[in-house]
């Protein structure tokens, strides 16, 4: 394996175009264990962290821009970002230990293609977009369009994500992410649930977005649960409908971490709980912040 660290997006795409078995990486927190577990080694390892855009976190009046290789610790340590997107910040903060947090990135978490990636449901409910660079320039994808199956993405071999754009959080809106793991820390989600809720002036739910991780080959939205919440104050009936819709939306696997029945149950529980947290946060976010 040869290591290269291009300093620009153009340089990186040209390396990728010229070496068919090149692999990009950011924090390598998935790549190294995969290589150690016997995955075929690429000829060239392309380190994206020396490209300025890929390691940056900035905001303007309309949106936040997060470099795809930016360590997730930068997100959790950024007070403005974490106050605006507490759910996404917490989800990013659940990717492994502090040691991992200093290396792991939203781009890596997404493109590794694990159905259990913690930051992905939280990005999806916040409508994050991926700016993808390739030999012919850039294109924009919804984050939900990037992963097509376990370990599979819609990116071409010579493409990579430069950065994510996330529109500023509107007022009366809050997000949340919860996950279930057998341990307390340092584990892979059995179920992950992201929620984002916007409240109307009367306190009822005007908009709701829910997404589940680890219960299907890719992250899934739960339209039935979203519909069930609209116009309600998340009363017991609405929450039961959320839970039922969440369980129904699952297409999980049986493995030693969780059975199908268990994943369906927990998806319902976490979806409810995430909605309640998102509502609480939405209530605290009036128009001034």
């Amino acid at each position: 394996m040869k290591y290269v660290a291009p300093s620009s997006v153009e340089e990186a795409t040209s390396v990728l175009s010229s070496s068919p078995s090149a692999q990009v990486f950011a924090g390598a927190t998935d790549v190294v264990p995969q290589l150690r577990a016997g995955s075929p080694a690429p000829e060239v390892l392309v380190d994206l962290k020396k490209i300025e855009e890929l390691v940056s976190l900035k905001s303007d009046d309309n949106k936040w821009t997060v470099g795809a290789a930016t360590p997730t610790a930068y997100l959790t340590e950024n007070e403005a970002f974490s106050q605006e997107f507490p759910g996404l910040s917490e989800a990013a903060g659940l990717i492994g230990s502090d040691q991992i947090q200093n290396r792991s990135s939203l781009g890596g978490n997404l493109c590794n293609g694990s159905p259990a990636a913690d930051s992905v449901p939280a990005m999806v409910v916040n409508g994050a977009r991926a700016i993808v660079a390739g030999p012919n320039g850039t294109r924009v994808l919804d984050v939900s369009e990037v992963v097509t199956g376990p370990g599979e993405t819609s990116l071409a071999d010579d493409e990579f994500i430069v950065e994510f754009e996330i529109d500023k959080m509107p007022s009366h809106t809050g997000d949340a992410y919860l996950r279930m793991i057998p341990r307390t820390e340092m584990d892979i989600a059995v179920v992950g649930a992201g929620a984002r809720v916007t409240l109307a002036d009367d306190g009822s739910i005007e908009q709701a977005v829910l997404a589940l991780g680890a219960v299907a080959p890719t992250v899934v939205r739960i339209p039935d649960a979203e519909d069930a919440l609209l116009g309600t104050t998340a009363d017991e009936e609405a929450l039961n409908a959320v839970a039922a819709a969440a369980s129904e939306a699952c297409n999980p696997i049986d493995d030693k971490r969780g059975t199908v029945a268990y994943r369906k149950q927990v998806a319902g529980v976490l979806a409810k709980r995430a909605v309640l947290i998102a509502i609480e946060r939405a209530e605290q976010r009036n128009g001034t912040n």
């Binding site: 264990p33 279930m180 341990r183 059975t259």
Partner: protein
């Protein structure tokens, strides 16, 4: 008293075997093992391509080794082919991870690349993973033996054998059940590591092991004839053992042969995944019990049937029922007891010892039995325990299985634990949450235990030596081997106390068979009581010799001379102003006069205690959070409280892990599914609360220090306490028993199933506990 060993650990990470910069190992080759990826198969190994790869000097398979190159079994009671493991599998593999070939390369990464290029042609055989299925002998691991049964302990007169249910005829309440103790991994953070070098006809081996002299004895069996100048085993810093590094492993035992063949030193260390599949796990028992007694709560009859999953070869783990059987009845006075125990071979990693080694299994089963009995009797499980405890005034007490407990005060330990926990407040809070129907339900569990240390009975010995240097300081040698237990501190304290010296005047030597003349090693919580007592006694003999010299110097009768251990001065009784120092005594002594050794046999001791666990169970997800763990662990006299606390803490954490999280899982074909720290998550600080420890010290008469072992107590009491707490939280659902580990999945599944089962009224006075399997539970997708 600060630990004396710590500075190097803190400033440069000490020197573990993989860290050695030993001149004798310059120019070492690196050994990499090729391991079986199938649980049971006939194999043909082709190394031709791999041999041509960069940096590869040689590759050997089982056919390159003389048939006598086997790792002798530690306990020679098993059929020969099960007992004596080939160093490399020859034609047949019996578990995933068994070494089938070894690569010698210049660098580890070259060895790893070449190992992948070794072609192993597998002709698969059916595998048997479940020990209960193995008993049926439908798949047999050793045709020449004809059965998977490795041993029936009744044939060794270690078990009584079971009669029938008529045994319980006079009982008013009879409860029976099946309790599984799944395999857990010791998971020392330091994986296995070793090195070997020949210098002419002398062999040196460096190894991460708990027993330097034990390793030497095993190596002498293999290389004694060639190493006519002798074998030296050096054990440096060891990054944890927990029982798994008592035995010598084939990967280690082959290194001297490789060094001999290649004419160069050879080093080896493994990856974590190799460690997870090839280092011996612990537990692996399935118990069936029946307990009977009166409606008023008298326990009168108990039967225990032990089945051990030995894995593919019968190493130490296969013999550990000896401890389970001797501790069958725990802290209770139960007059009528019957036992049986068998070990079977399966297509899994050979079982070794793990913290507690046979005693946690005995304790967990009797504690489950008592909880279930209390439920049937409609009594508080604490009351049933208290009612049946062996009374403090009856010690030494011999139990119905013939084990003689040395000393104890079981009721006081129970009271102390309960008081510290504040049991009545906890019950109030539990009731409040139940009435309110809260999502987080509280559970409270209590377990009592007694265990055996420095076992097996009747006891054992350890080598200790004390010598006074020419300048009046002391050198202390021990055959015991600290791998985290702080012998340098504790043993130096014992010697300093006896010799009246400062700790800084004591040099402590362990872990080198050329420097320490004999020894056994550190396991079974034996170190301080055997090794510490040996140092104590040897120091006492040295003091007696010094007193005779002092008497000459002071021109007094020896009986009139004393050593003031506060000042380290010898003087005539009552006349401290005229005195002699150790240096003066040393100067006046003849060469070799001021030294002594001790290796006296001493009887086992029986530490005991009580643990209280408080858990919160999320009834919607099944997630269990340990809120509190309160323990009273009595290990006799305590020499260094800080070190003893640390031993208790570590044991508690491992016991909690076994109760809630850790389990080695295989699929039906014998493929291990827990092969790294992501899939086998060992307990972290985020899963644990602060520990609450109550103190009690009941000395043992069995050694001069009055000490018992403390290394394993924590892991013996905490598992059943936590298990009982979770089941207590689930009792409103009618859930009586679940096997450990109580994972969220298992807890939620039980709650979910209970909602259906509650419809069915069970009228039986017996409580059947449904079978669960340690394997075949999950399919890999």
């Amino acid at each position: 008293m600060l630990r004396r060993e710590d500075r190097g650990f803190l400033t440069h990470g000490a020197t573990y075997t993989a860290d050695l910069k030993e001149p004798n190992l310059f120019g070492s080759l690196h050994a990499t093992y090729v391991r079986s990826t199938m649980a049971h198969a006939r194999i043909v190994v082709d190394t031709s391509n791999a041999k041509t790869m960069p940096g590869v000097l040689a590759i050997y398979t089982g056919s390159d080794l003389d048939v006598s190159m086997v790792l002798p079994g530690a306990i020679p009671v098993f059929p020969d082919p099960m007992l004596n493991r080939p160093l490399l599998a020859n034609n047949r593999v019996r578990f995933v991870g068994e070494p089938v070939a070894v690569v010698l390369a210049e660098h580890p990464f070259q060895g790893a690349d070449a190992a992948e290029a070794v072609l192993v042609d597998y002709d698969p055989l059916p595998a048997v993973v479940d020990p209960e299925l193995a008993l049926a002998d439908e798949v047999v691991l050793y045709e020449e033996v004809g059965s998977n049964l490795a041993i029936d302990f009744s044939s060794l007169d270690m078990a009584t054998g079971l009669t029938d249910i008529a045994f319980f005829d006079e009982c008013e309440i009879v409860v029976h059940g099946r309790v599984a103790h799944p395999r857990v991994h010791p998971a020392p953070i330091e994986v296995r590591s070793a090195a070997a070098a020949w210098d002419g006809d002398s062999l040196s081996v460096w190894i991460s092991n708990q027993s330097p002299h034990g390793a030497k004895r095993s190596l002498e069996g293999l290389y004694g004839e060639k190493a006519i100048e002798g074998i030296r085993v050096v054990v440096g810093d060891v990054g944890g053992g927990f029982g798994s590094k008592i035995d010598l492993y084939p990967e280690e035992a082959l290194l001297p042969w490789l060094a001999s063949e290649s004419g160069r030193p050879v080093r080896w260390f493994e990856t974590r995944t190799e460690n997870m599949v090839a280092m011996g796990p612990g537990r692996g028992h399935i118990h069936r019990f029946t307990i009977g007694g009166t409606r008023s709560g008298n326990l009168t009859h108990y039967q225990l049937d032990v089945l051990v999953d030995s894995g593919a070869y019968t190493r130490i783990g296969a013999f550990l029922p000896m401890f389970t059987l001797s501790m069958t009845v725990g802290v209770y006075e139960i007059p009528n007891v019957e036992t049986t125990a068998r070990s079977v071979v399966t297509n899994t990693t050979p079982l070794e010892a793990y913290r507690g080694a046979g005693r946690p299994e005995a304790t967990l089963t009797i504690e489950r039995a008592v909880d279930l009995f209390a439920h049937e009797a409609g009594m508080d499980p604490i009351d049933v325990r208290r009612h049946n405890l062996i009374a403090a005034e009856t010690f030494p007490a011999t139990t119905a299985v013939g084990t003689e407990y040395d000393s104890g005060d079981y009721e006081t330990s129970l009271d102390l634990a309960l008081q510290t926990a504040g049991i009545s407040n906890l019950r109030d809070e539990q009731a409040r949450r139940r009435i309110a129907g809260e999502t987080l339900q509280l559970g409270i569990g209590v377990a009592t235990y007694v265990e055996v240390t420095a076992g097996p009975a009747p006891g054992g010995n350890e080598f200790g030596r004390v010598e006074i240097t020419a300048d009046g300081r002391a050198r202390v040698f021990s055959g015991s081997l600290s791998h985290g237990q702080s012998h340098r501190t504790t043993f130096s304290m014992i010697a300093a106390d006896r010799l009246g010296m400062e700790l800084s005047e004591i040099e402590f030597i362990q872990g080198d068979t050329d420097k320490v003349a004999g020894g056994v090693g550190t396991y079974g919580s034996r170190s301080t009581q055997l090794g510490g007592s040996a140092v104590h006694d040897a120091a006492g003999v040295v003091v007696d010799k010094a007193l005779r010299i002092a008497a000459d110097l002071l021109e007094a009768a020896v009986d009139d001379v004393m050593l003031d251990t506060d000042t380290g001065q010898f003087h005539v009784v009552g006349s401290p102003t005229v005195s002699r120092t150790w240096a003066e005594i040393a100067t006046a002594s003849n060469e070799g006069e001021l030294e002594a050794e001790s290796k006296e046999n001493r009887k086992c001791t029986y530490p005991f205690g009580a643990h209280v666990a408080v858990v919160e169970v999320d009834i919607e997800t099944g997630h269990v959070r340990l809120q509190r763990i309160v323990t009273c662990d009595d290990a006799g006299v305590i020499i260094n409280p800080m070190i003893v606390e640390g031993q208790r803490h570590g044991g508690i954490a491992q016991g909690v892990a076994q109760a809630l999280m850790e389990e080695i899982v295989y699929d039906c074909d014998g493929n291990p599914l827990t092969t790294n720290f992501a899939d086998y998550g060992i307990i972290s600080m985020a899963e644990l609360p602060s520990f609450e420890l109550a103190s009690l010290e009941t000395p043992t008469p069995n050694n001069p220090l009055g000490v018992k072992g403390i290394g394993e107590s924590g892991s013996i009491g905490s598992t059943p306490a936590v298990q009982s707490a979770v089941l207590d939280a689930l009792s409103p659902w009618g859930i009586r028993h679940l096997d450990v580990p109580l994972t969220p999945l298992k807890v939620w599944s039980a709650i979910s199933a209970a909602a259906i089962k509650r419809e069915i009224k069970l009228g039986s006075r017996r409580v059947p506990i449904g079978p669960t399997r340690t394997s075949c539970r999950y399919a890999l997708l």
